[in-house]
Protein backbone atom coordinates (compact mmCIF):
# COMPACT_ATOMS: atom_id res chain seq x y z
CA UNK A 1 0.00 0.00 0.00
CA UNK A 2 2.72 2.38 1.00
CA UNK A 3 4.73 1.64 -2.13
CA UNK A 4 1.65 2.12 -4.26
CA UNK A 5 1.21 5.60 -2.83
CA UNK A 6 4.86 6.38 -3.41
CA UNK A 7 4.63 5.24 -7.02
CA UNK A 8 1.53 7.31 -7.53
CA UNK A 9 3.23 10.33 -5.98
CA UNK A 10 6.13 9.91 -8.36
CA UNK A 11 3.82 10.04 -11.34
CA UNK A 12 1.73 13.02 -10.36
CA UNK A 13 1.98 14.56 -6.92
CA UNK A 14 -1.07 14.23 -4.72
CA UNK A 15 -1.92 16.37 -1.77
CA UNK A 16 0.12 15.35 1.24
CA UNK A 17 -1.57 16.11 4.55
CA UNK A 18 1.78 15.84 6.34
CA UNK A 19 3.55 18.31 4.06
CA UNK A 20 0.55 20.63 4.01
CA UNK A 21 0.34 20.68 7.80
CA UNK A 22 4.09 21.16 8.08
CA UNK A 23 4.04 24.06 5.65
CA UNK A 24 1.16 25.79 7.42
CA UNK A 25 3.14 25.60 10.66
CA UNK A 26 6.25 26.89 8.85
CA UNK A 27 4.20 29.81 7.51
CA UNK A 28 3.14 30.70 11.05
CA UNK A 29 6.78 30.44 12.19
CA UNK A 30 7.93 32.82 9.47
CA UNK A 31 5.10 35.21 10.36
CA UNK A 32 6.47 35.32 13.93
CA UNK A 33 9.83 36.52 12.62
CA UNK A 34 8.43 39.95 11.76
CA UNK A 35 7.31 40.82 15.31
CA UNK A 36 10.56 39.16 16.44
CA UNK A 37 12.49 41.50 14.15
CA UNK A 38 10.46 44.41 15.53
CA UNK A 39 11.67 43.55 19.05
CA UNK A 40 15.23 42.95 17.83
CA UNK A 41 15.32 46.40 16.25
CA UNK A 42 13.04 48.09 18.79
CA UNK A 43 15.31 47.25 21.71
CA UNK A 44 18.33 48.63 19.87
CA UNK A 45 17.08 52.19 19.50
CA UNK A 46 16.70 54.84 22.19
CA UNK A 47 13.48 55.03 24.21
CA UNK A 48 12.17 58.02 22.30
CA UNK A 49 11.95 56.16 19.00
CA UNK A 50 11.29 52.60 20.12
CA UNK A 51 7.60 52.51 19.16
CA UNK A 52 8.37 53.87 15.70
CA UNK A 53 10.95 51.13 15.23
CA UNK A 54 8.44 48.45 16.27
CA UNK A 55 5.81 49.92 13.97
CA UNK A 56 8.11 50.09 10.93
CA UNK A 57 8.30 46.31 11.00
CA UNK A 58 4.77 45.59 12.18
CA UNK A 59 3.08 47.70 9.49
CA UNK A 60 4.55 45.38 6.87
CA UNK A 61 2.25 42.61 8.11
CA UNK A 62 -0.62 44.84 7.01
CA UNK A 63 0.58 46.45 3.80
CA UNK A 64 2.45 43.59 2.19
CA UNK A 65 -0.20 41.00 3.04
CA UNK A 66 -2.84 42.96 1.12
CA UNK A 67 -0.57 43.72 -1.84
CA UNK A 68 0.54 40.08 -2.01
CA UNK A 69 -3.06 38.92 -2.29
CA UNK A 70 -3.98 41.62 -4.82
CA UNK A 71 -1.06 41.22 -7.24
CA UNK A 72 2.21 40.33 -5.49
CA UNK A 73 1.86 36.56 -5.69
CA UNK A 74 0.98 36.87 -9.36
CA UNK A 75 4.02 39.05 -10.12
CA UNK A 76 6.42 36.81 -8.23
CA UNK A 77 5.08 33.35 -9.03
CA UNK A 78 2.80 33.76 -12.04
CA UNK A 79 3.66 32.52 -15.52
CA UNK A 80 7.04 33.89 -16.53
CA UNK A 81 7.50 36.50 -19.19
CA UNK A 82 10.97 37.48 -20.34
CA UNK A 83 12.58 35.74 -17.34
CA UNK A 84 11.96 38.98 -15.43
CA UNK A 85 8.44 38.96 -14.05
CA UNK A 86 5.45 36.68 -13.64
CA UNK A 87 1.71 37.12 -14.15
CA UNK A 88 -1.26 34.83 -13.70
CA UNK A 89 -4.73 36.36 -13.56
CA UNK A 90 -5.96 33.40 -11.48
CA UNK A 91 -3.60 34.57 -8.75
CA UNK A 92 -4.95 38.13 -8.70
CA UNK A 93 -6.86 38.38 -5.45
CA UNK A 94 -6.08 34.65 -5.08
CA UNK A 95 -9.48 34.36 -6.73
CA UNK A 96 -8.99 31.69 -9.36
CA UNK A 97 -7.23 29.06 -7.27
CA UNK A 98 -8.99 25.79 -6.43
CA UNK A 99 -8.74 24.84 -2.77
CA UNK A 100 -7.16 21.50 -3.58
CA UNK A 101 -5.16 22.75 -6.57
CA UNK A 102 -1.54 21.76 -5.99
CA UNK A 103 1.51 23.97 -6.42
CA UNK A 104 3.12 22.68 -9.60
CA UNK A 105 5.36 19.71 -8.88
CA UNK A 106 4.69 19.66 -5.15
CA UNK A 107 2.33 18.01 -2.71
CA UNK A 108 0.93 21.16 -1.10
CA UNK A 109 -1.96 23.37 -2.22
CA UNK A 110 -1.24 26.64 -4.06
CA UNK A 111 -2.88 28.43 -1.14
CA UNK A 112 -0.27 27.04 1.24
CA UNK A 113 2.62 28.00 -1.03
CA UNK A 114 1.14 31.48 -1.48
CA UNK A 115 0.79 32.14 2.25
CA UNK A 116 4.27 30.74 3.00
CA UNK A 117 5.84 33.03 0.40
CA UNK A 118 3.68 35.89 1.67
CA UNK A 119 5.49 35.78 5.01
CA UNK A 120 8.84 36.20 3.20
CA UNK A 121 7.51 39.22 1.34
CA UNK A 122 6.37 40.68 4.68
CA UNK A 123 9.67 40.41 6.51
CA UNK A 124 11.95 41.60 3.70
CA UNK A 125 10.96 45.31 3.69
CA UNK A 126 10.79 45.17 7.51
CA UNK A 127 14.49 44.22 7.50
CA UNK A 128 15.32 47.50 5.73
CA UNK A 129 13.76 49.59 8.49
CA UNK A 130 16.62 49.01 10.92
CA UNK A 131 18.88 51.25 8.86
CA UNK A 132 16.38 54.11 8.98
CA UNK A 133 15.89 54.39 12.74
CA UNK A 134 14.67 57.58 14.43
CA UNK A 135 14.18 59.75 11.38
CA UNK A 136 11.69 58.62 8.72
CA UNK A 137 8.08 59.85 8.49
CA UNK A 138 5.77 56.94 9.08
CA UNK A 139 3.57 57.79 6.11
CA UNK A 140 6.64 57.94 3.85
CA UNK A 141 7.84 54.60 5.19
CA UNK A 142 4.43 52.99 4.57
CA UNK A 143 4.38 54.26 1.00
CA UNK A 144 8.00 53.21 0.48
CA UNK A 145 7.13 49.70 1.69
CA UNK A 146 4.27 49.41 -0.81
CA UNK A 147 6.34 50.73 -3.70
CA UNK A 148 9.46 48.78 -2.79
CA UNK A 149 7.81 45.37 -2.66
CA UNK A 150 6.12 46.14 -5.98
CA UNK A 151 9.19 47.37 -7.83
CA UNK A 152 11.92 45.39 -6.10
CA UNK A 153 10.80 42.41 -4.01
CA UNK A 154 8.16 40.86 -6.25
CA UNK A 155 10.39 40.92 -9.37
CA UNK A 156 13.50 39.75 -7.50
CA UNK A 157 11.59 36.89 -5.86
CA UNK A 158 10.56 35.91 -9.39
CA UNK A 159 14.14 36.05 -10.67
CA UNK A 160 15.39 33.83 -7.87
CA UNK A 161 12.54 31.39 -7.19
CA UNK A 162 9.97 31.75 -9.95
CA UNK A 163 9.89 29.08 -12.66
CA UNK A 164 11.50 30.84 -15.65
CA UNK A 165 13.13 33.54 -13.53
CA UNK A 166 16.57 34.27 -14.95
CA UNK A 167 18.64 33.58 -11.83
CA UNK A 168 16.59 30.43 -11.14
CA UNK A 169 17.21 29.15 -14.65
CA UNK A 170 20.90 30.07 -14.44
CA UNK A 171 21.24 27.66 -11.50
CA UNK A 172 21.96 30.12 -8.72
CA UNK A 173 21.43 28.32 -5.42
CA UNK A 174 19.41 30.31 -2.92
CA UNK A 175 17.68 27.89 -0.63
CA UNK A 176 15.64 30.27 1.48
CA UNK A 177 16.49 33.83 0.56
CA UNK A 178 20.13 34.89 0.84
CA UNK A 179 19.78 36.95 -2.32
CA UNK A 180 16.02 37.56 -2.56
CA UNK A 181 15.61 38.49 1.11
CA UNK A 182 18.88 39.46 2.78
CA UNK A 183 21.05 40.93 0.03
CA UNK A 184 17.91 42.53 -1.34
CA UNK A 185 17.00 44.18 1.97
CA UNK A 186 20.60 45.06 2.87
CA UNK A 187 21.32 46.70 -0.48
CA UNK A 188 18.00 48.56 -0.29
CA UNK A 189 18.94 49.83 3.17
CA UNK A 190 22.23 51.13 1.81
CA UNK A 191 20.51 52.81 -1.13
CA UNK A 192 17.95 54.56 1.09
CA UNK A 193 20.37 55.83 3.72
CA UNK A 194 22.67 57.26 1.06
CA UNK A 195 19.68 59.36 -0.02
CA UNK A 196 18.12 60.36 3.30
CA UNK A 197 21.32 60.86 5.28
CA UNK A 198 22.36 60.42 8.87
CA UNK A 199 20.58 60.74 12.18
CA UNK A 200 21.11 63.98 14.03
CA UNK A 201 24.07 63.37 16.34
CA UNK A 202 25.48 60.36 14.46
CA UNK A 203 28.99 59.59 15.76
CA UNK A 204 28.58 62.26 18.47
CA UNK A 205 25.67 61.34 20.69
CA UNK A 206 25.38 58.32 22.93
CA UNK A 207 23.06 56.08 20.92
CA UNK A 208 23.01 52.96 23.01
CA UNK A 209 20.21 50.38 22.90
CA UNK A 210 17.41 51.16 25.32
CA UNK A 211 16.55 47.52 26.03
CA UNK A 212 18.94 44.66 25.39
CA UNK A 213 16.48 42.14 26.89
CA UNK A 214 14.08 43.14 24.10
CA UNK A 215 16.88 42.62 21.55
CA UNK A 216 17.54 39.17 22.99
CA UNK A 217 13.84 38.30 22.92
CA UNK A 218 13.70 39.40 19.29
CA UNK A 219 16.79 37.38 18.38
CA UNK A 220 15.26 34.33 20.06
CA UNK A 221 12.00 34.71 18.15
CA UNK A 222 13.93 35.18 14.90
CA UNK A 223 15.99 32.06 15.55
CA UNK A 224 12.84 30.06 16.32
CA UNK A 225 10.90 31.39 13.35
CA UNK A 226 13.88 30.85 11.06
CA UNK A 227 13.40 27.09 11.24
CA UNK A 228 10.16 27.63 9.34
CA UNK A 229 11.86 30.06 6.97
CA UNK A 230 14.69 27.65 6.15
CA UNK A 231 13.40 24.11 6.60
CA UNK A 232 10.05 25.11 5.08
CA UNK A 233 11.68 26.38 1.91
CA UNK A 234 11.93 22.83 0.53
CA UNK A 235 8.10 22.76 0.61
CA UNK A 236 7.90 19.24 1.98
CA UNK A 237 9.76 16.45 3.72
CA UNK A 238 9.75 13.59 1.26
CA UNK A 239 13.52 13.41 0.75
CA UNK A 240 15.14 14.66 3.96
CA UNK A 241 16.60 17.87 2.48
CA UNK A 242 14.40 20.02 4.72
CA UNK A 243 15.71 18.15 7.77
CA UNK A 244 19.33 18.78 6.73
CA UNK A 245 18.44 22.46 6.35
CA UNK A 246 16.89 22.46 9.83
CA UNK A 247 20.03 20.96 11.36
CA UNK A 248 22.37 23.28 9.48
CA UNK A 249 20.30 26.29 10.57
CA UNK A 250 20.88 25.44 14.21
CA UNK A 251 24.55 24.55 13.73
CA UNK A 252 25.58 27.62 11.72
CA UNK A 253 23.74 29.96 14.10
CA UNK A 254 25.49 28.47 17.10
CA UNK A 255 28.88 28.78 15.40
CA UNK A 256 28.23 32.38 14.33
CA UNK A 257 27.20 33.45 17.82
CA UNK A 258 30.35 31.94 19.33
CA UNK A 259 32.53 33.43 16.60
CA UNK A 260 31.08 36.93 17.05
CA UNK A 261 31.53 36.69 20.83
CA UNK A 262 35.10 35.43 20.47
CA UNK A 263 36.04 38.20 18.07
CA UNK A 264 34.47 40.76 20.34
CA UNK A 265 36.21 39.46 23.45
CA UNK A 266 39.61 39.62 21.74
CA UNK A 267 38.99 42.97 20.09
CA UNK A 268 36.93 44.89 22.67
CA UNK A 269 37.36 42.95 25.89
CA UNK A 270 33.84 41.74 26.67
CA UNK A 271 31.27 39.14 25.71
CA UNK A 272 28.28 41.38 25.03
CA UNK A 273 24.60 40.51 24.92
CA UNK A 274 24.21 42.51 21.75
CA UNK A 275 27.12 40.58 20.25
CA UNK A 276 25.49 37.23 21.03
CA UNK A 277 22.18 38.34 19.51
CA UNK A 278 23.87 39.87 16.46
CA UNK A 279 26.11 36.87 15.91
CA UNK A 280 23.11 34.55 15.95
CA UNK A 281 21.31 36.66 13.35
CA UNK A 282 24.45 36.85 11.18
CA UNK A 283 24.64 33.05 11.25
CA UNK A 284 20.98 32.69 10.36
CA UNK A 285 21.44 35.05 7.42
CA UNK A 286 24.51 33.24 6.10
CA UNK A 287 23.01 29.75 6.32
CA UNK A 288 19.79 30.86 4.61
CA UNK A 289 21.07 30.46 1.03
CA UNK A 290 23.61 27.75 1.82
CA UNK A 291 22.14 25.34 4.38
CA UNK A 292 20.47 23.14 1.79
CA UNK A 293 23.72 22.35 0.04
CA UNK A 294 26.36 22.03 2.76
CA UNK A 295 27.17 19.48 5.47
CA UNK A 296 26.85 20.23 9.20
CA UNK A 297 30.64 20.73 9.38
CA UNK A 298 30.35 23.08 6.42
CA UNK A 299 27.60 24.88 8.33
CA UNK A 300 29.96 25.39 11.27
CA UNK A 301 32.52 26.95 8.91
CA UNK A 302 29.93 29.16 7.19
CA UNK A 303 28.52 30.29 10.55
CA UNK A 304 31.94 31.02 12.03
CA UNK A 305 33.04 33.00 8.97
CA UNK A 306 29.81 35.01 9.02
CA UNK A 307 30.13 35.70 12.76
CA UNK A 308 33.61 37.16 12.48
CA UNK A 309 33.19 39.00 9.17
CA UNK A 310 29.87 40.60 10.18
CA UNK A 311 31.33 41.62 13.55
CA UNK A 312 34.07 43.39 11.62
CA UNK A 313 31.67 44.81 9.03
CA UNK A 314 29.44 46.66 11.50
CA UNK A 315 32.30 49.10 12.18
CA UNK A 316 32.49 50.19 8.52
CA UNK A 317 29.69 52.73 8.88
CA UNK A 318 31.84 54.82 11.18
CA UNK A 319 34.78 54.63 8.80
CA UNK A 320 32.80 55.46 5.67
CA UNK A 321 30.40 57.77 7.46
CA UNK A 322 27.02 56.32 6.45
CA UNK A 323 24.39 55.90 9.14
CA UNK A 324 23.27 52.30 8.83
CA UNK A 325 21.64 52.74 12.21
CA UNK A 326 21.12 49.12 13.28
CA UNK A 327 23.60 47.50 10.89
CA UNK A 328 21.28 46.14 8.23
CA UNK A 329 24.16 46.43 5.75
CA UNK A 330 26.74 45.00 8.15
CA UNK A 331 24.64 41.98 9.08
CA UNK A 332 22.13 41.29 6.28
CA UNK A 333 23.96 42.50 3.20
CA UNK A 334 27.37 41.22 4.26
CA UNK A 335 25.92 38.01 5.77
CA UNK A 336 23.78 37.42 2.69
CA UNK A 337 26.69 37.95 0.29
CA UNK A 338 28.90 35.64 2.35
CA UNK A 339 26.31 32.87 2.58
CA UNK A 340 25.51 33.08 -1.12
CA UNK A 341 29.16 33.01 -2.19
CA UNK A 342 30.15 30.31 0.30
CA UNK A 343 27.71 27.97 -1.45
CA UNK A 344 30.31 28.02 -4.22
CA UNK A 345 32.87 26.61 -1.77
CA UNK A 346 30.90 24.39 0.60
CA UNK A 347 28.18 22.83 -1.60
CA UNK A 348 28.73 19.08 -1.25
CA UNK A 349 26.74 18.16 -4.32
CA UNK A 350 24.90 15.59 -2.23
CA UNK A 351 22.00 17.47 -0.64
CA UNK A 352 19.62 19.77 -2.53
CA UNK A 353 21.30 19.34 -5.90
CA UNK A 354 24.36 17.71 -7.44
CA UNK A 355 26.11 21.05 -7.95
CA UNK A 356 29.34 20.84 -5.93
CA UNK A 357 31.44 23.73 -4.70
CA UNK A 358 35.17 24.37 -4.92
CA UNK A 359 36.02 22.39 -1.77
CA UNK A 360 34.11 19.35 -3.03
CA UNK A 361 35.67 19.05 -6.46
CA UNK A 362 33.08 21.12 -8.29
CA UNK A 363 35.52 23.76 -9.50
CA UNK A 364 34.56 27.38 -9.93
CA UNK A 365 31.35 26.93 -11.89
CA UNK A 366 28.91 27.21 -9.00
CA UNK A 367 30.87 30.07 -7.40
CA UNK A 368 30.57 32.01 -10.65
CA UNK A 369 26.81 31.52 -10.75
CA UNK A 370 26.52 32.58 -7.13
CA UNK A 371 28.53 35.73 -7.83
CA UNK A 372 26.20 36.65 -10.70
CA UNK A 373 23.19 36.21 -8.41
CA UNK A 374 24.77 38.31 -5.67
CA UNK A 375 25.79 41.11 -7.97
CA UNK A 376 22.52 41.26 -9.90
CA UNK A 377 20.29 41.48 -6.84
CA UNK A 378 22.65 43.83 -4.99
CA UNK A 379 22.96 46.26 -7.88
CA UNK A 380 19.28 46.28 -8.83
CA UNK A 381 18.04 46.70 -5.27
CA UNK A 382 20.60 49.37 -4.43
CA UNK A 383 19.77 51.52 -7.44
CA UNK A 384 15.99 50.99 -7.46
CA UNK A 385 15.69 51.61 -3.71
CA UNK A 386 17.80 54.76 -3.84
CA UNK A 387 15.63 56.04 -6.69
CA UNK A 388 12.42 55.29 -4.81
CA UNK A 389 13.71 57.05 -1.71
CA UNK A 390 14.82 59.99 -3.83
CA UNK A 391 11.40 60.32 -5.47
CA UNK A 392 9.58 60.12 -2.15
CA UNK A 393 11.99 62.58 -0.56
CA UNK A 394 11.42 65.10 -3.35
CA UNK A 395 7.63 64.73 -3.21
CA UNK A 396 6.23 63.97 0.24
CA UNK A 397 9.57 64.11 2.09
CA UNK A 398 11.17 61.12 3.79
CA UNK A 399 12.35 62.67 7.04
CA UNK A 400 10.70 64.24 10.05
CA UNK A 401 11.96 67.70 11.03
CA UNK A 402 15.19 67.91 12.98
CA UNK A 403 13.32 69.15 16.07
CA UNK A 404 10.93 66.21 15.95
CA UNK A 405 13.78 63.77 15.47
CA UNK A 406 15.67 65.14 18.44
CA UNK A 407 12.67 65.31 20.76
CA UNK A 408 11.58 61.83 19.68
CA UNK A 409 9.70 60.42 16.70
CA UNK A 410 7.31 58.33 18.84
CA UNK A 411 5.33 61.29 20.10
CA UNK A 412 5.32 63.11 16.77
CA UNK A 413 4.37 60.22 14.51
CA UNK A 414 2.44 57.95 16.85
CA UNK A 415 1.25 60.21 19.72
CA UNK A 416 2.40 57.64 22.26
CA UNK A 417 5.12 56.98 24.81
CA UNK A 418 6.67 53.53 24.99
CA UNK A 419 7.01 53.22 28.74
CA UNK A 420 5.12 54.75 31.64
CA UNK A 421 7.74 54.97 34.36
CA UNK A 422 5.49 55.35 37.37
CA UNK A 423 5.86 54.28 40.97
CA UNK A 424 9.20 54.84 42.70
CA UNK A 425 10.94 55.44 39.40
CA UNK A 426 10.37 59.17 39.25
CA UNK A 427 8.81 60.90 36.29
CA UNK A 428 5.39 60.62 37.94
CA UNK A 429 5.19 64.40 37.82
CA UNK A 430 4.25 64.14 34.15
CA UNK A 431 0.91 62.69 35.28
CA UNK A 432 -0.18 66.00 36.70
CA UNK A 433 0.13 67.50 33.24
CA UNK A 434 -1.34 64.50 31.43
CA UNK A 435 -4.94 65.31 32.33
CA UNK A 436 -4.92 69.01 31.41
CA UNK A 437 -3.24 68.22 28.08
CA UNK A 438 -5.90 65.73 27.00
CA UNK A 439 -8.65 68.08 28.15
CA UNK A 440 -7.03 70.88 26.20
CA UNK A 441 -6.81 68.68 23.12
CA UNK A 442 -10.49 67.77 23.42
CA UNK A 443 -11.55 71.38 23.79
CA UNK A 444 -9.42 72.29 20.79
CA UNK A 445 -11.40 69.84 18.70
CA UNK A 446 -14.64 71.46 19.83
CA UNK A 447 -13.29 74.86 18.80
CA UNK A 448 -12.33 73.58 15.39
Amino acid sequence: MASAITTLAADAPTLSAANTGFMLICSALVMLMTPGLAFFYGGMVRVKSSLNMLMMSFISLGIVTILWVLYGFSLAFGTDSGSLIGWNSDYVGLSGIGITELWDGYTIPVYVFAVFQLMFAVITPALISGALADRVKFSAWALFTALWVTVVYFPVAHWVWGAGGWLFELGVIDFAGGTAVHINAGAAALGVILVIGKRVGFKKDLMRPHSLPLVMLGAGLLWFGWFGFNAGSWLGNDDGVGAVMFVNTQVATAAAMLAWLGYEKLRHGSFTTLGAASGAVAGLVAITPSGGSCSPLGAIAIGAIAGVVCAMAVGLKYKFNFDDSLDVVGVHLVGGVLGSLLVGFFATGGVQSDAAGLFYGGGLAQLGKQAIGVFAVLAYSLVASALLAFLLDKTIGMRVTEDDEVSGIDQVEHAETAYDFSGAGGGASSRSTAVPVSVAAASKKVDA
Binding site: L206, R208, E264, A311
Partner: protein, 112 residues
Protein backbone atom coordinates in the same frame (compact mmCIF):
# COMPACT_ATOMS: atom_id res chain seq x y z
CA UNK B 1 15.56 71.53 61.42
CA UNK B 2 17.85 70.04 58.83
CA UNK B 3 17.32 68.54 55.41
CA UNK B 4 19.78 65.71 54.96
CA UNK B 5 20.48 64.71 51.39
CA UNK B 6 22.43 61.60 50.50
CA UNK B 7 23.52 60.66 46.97
CA UNK B 8 24.53 57.01 47.15
CA UNK B 9 24.88 53.80 45.20
CA UNK B 10 21.44 52.38 44.28
CA UNK B 11 22.12 48.94 45.75
CA UNK B 12 22.71 50.43 49.21
CA UNK B 13 19.15 51.77 49.44
CA UNK B 14 17.69 48.86 51.41
CA UNK B 15 20.53 48.91 53.97
CA UNK B 16 20.13 52.64 54.48
CA UNK B 17 16.35 52.42 54.75
CA UNK B 18 16.61 49.67 57.37
CA UNK B 19 19.29 51.52 59.35
CA UNK B 20 17.25 54.72 59.39
CA UNK B 21 14.14 52.83 60.47
CA UNK B 22 16.08 51.17 63.32
CA UNK B 23 17.41 54.58 64.33
CA UNK B 24 13.85 55.92 64.48
CA UNK B 25 13.56 58.13 61.41
CA UNK B 26 9.87 58.19 60.47
CA UNK B 27 9.98 58.91 56.77
CA UNK B 28 12.17 59.60 53.81
CA UNK B 29 11.98 60.43 50.13
CA UNK B 30 13.90 58.59 47.43
CA UNK B 31 14.50 59.69 43.87
CA UNK B 32 16.52 58.11 41.11
CA UNK B 33 19.36 60.34 40.12
CA UNK B 34 22.35 60.20 37.86
CA UNK B 35 25.66 61.95 37.98
CA UNK B 36 29.33 61.56 38.55
CA UNK B 37 31.96 62.49 41.08
CA UNK B 38 35.65 61.86 41.02
CA UNK B 39 35.17 58.31 39.71
CA UNK B 40 33.71 59.69 36.44
CA UNK B 41 31.78 57.30 34.23
CA UNK B 42 32.51 54.00 32.59
CA UNK B 43 32.91 52.57 29.09
CA UNK B 44 30.27 50.49 27.34
CA UNK B 45 30.65 48.64 24.02
CA UNK B 46 27.83 48.10 21.53
CA UNK B 47 28.78 46.19 18.37
CA UNK B 48 32.31 47.47 18.74
CA UNK B 49 31.33 51.12 19.21
CA UNK B 50 32.74 52.28 22.54
CA UNK B 51 30.75 54.83 24.46
CA UNK B 52 31.89 56.65 27.57
CA UNK B 53 28.91 56.85 29.86
CA UNK B 54 29.57 59.83 32.14
CA UNK B 55 26.42 59.75 34.21
CA UNK B 56 26.22 56.84 36.62
CA UNK B 57 22.88 55.81 38.19
CA UNK B 58 22.53 56.97 41.80
CA UNK B 59 19.84 57.19 44.46
CA UNK B 60 19.05 60.47 46.20
CA UNK B 61 17.66 60.08 49.71
CA UNK B 62 16.17 63.06 51.51
CA UNK B 63 15.30 63.12 55.22
CA UNK B 64 13.99 65.98 57.35
CA UNK B 65 15.20 65.77 60.97
CA UNK B 66 15.47 67.80 64.13
CA UNK B 67 18.71 69.75 64.58
CA UNK B 68 19.84 67.50 67.47
CA UNK B 69 19.47 64.30 65.45
CA UNK B 70 21.13 65.55 62.26
CA UNK B 71 24.71 64.43 62.94
CA UNK B 72 23.63 60.99 64.12
CA UNK B 73 21.34 60.46 61.15
CA UNK B 74 24.17 61.43 58.81
CA UNK B 75 26.43 58.90 60.53
CA UNK B 76 23.77 56.21 60.19
CA UNK B 77 23.47 56.89 56.46
CA UNK B 78 27.21 57.01 55.93
CA UNK B 79 27.88 53.73 57.69
CA UNK B 80 25.05 51.99 55.84
CA UNK B 81 26.10 53.38 52.47
CA UNK B 82 29.80 52.64 52.90
CA UNK B 83 31.42 50.05 50.66
CA UNK B 84 34.91 51.56 50.64
CA UNK B 85 35.00 51.59 46.84
CA UNK B 86 35.13 54.61 44.63
CA UNK B 87 31.67 56.08 43.88
CA UNK B 88 30.13 55.60 47.35
CA UNK B 89 28.64 59.08 47.14
CA UNK B 90 28.10 62.02 49.47
CA UNK B 91 25.86 63.08 52.34
CA UNK B 92 25.18 66.68 53.34
CA UNK B 93 22.75 68.71 55.39
CA UNK B 94 21.24 72.16 55.06
CA UNK B 95 19.12 74.21 57.44
CA UNK B 96 15.38 74.31 56.86
CA UNK B 97 13.32 77.37 57.81
CA UNK B 98 9.89 75.89 58.15
CA UNK B 99 7.95 72.68 57.59
CA UNK B 100 4.18 72.11 57.38
CA UNK B 101 2.40 68.76 57.62
CA UNK B 102 -0.19 68.95 54.88
CA UNK B 103 -2.85 66.82 56.59
CA UNK B 104 -2.97 68.62 59.93
CA UNK B 105 -1.37 71.97 59.30
CA UNK B 106 1.18 71.36 62.10
CA UNK B 107 4.30 73.46 61.76
CA UNK B 108 7.97 73.21 62.70
CA UNK B 109 9.30 70.27 64.74
CA UNK B 110 5.71 69.04 65.25
CA UNK B 111 5.46 68.37 61.57
CA UNK B 112 8.52 66.10 61.36
Amino acid sequence: MKLITAIVKPHRLDEIKDALQTFGVQGLTVTEASGYGRQRGHTEVYRGAEYTVDLVPKIRIEVLVDDDAADDVMDVIVSAAHTGKIGDGKVWSVSVDSVVRVRTGERGAEAL
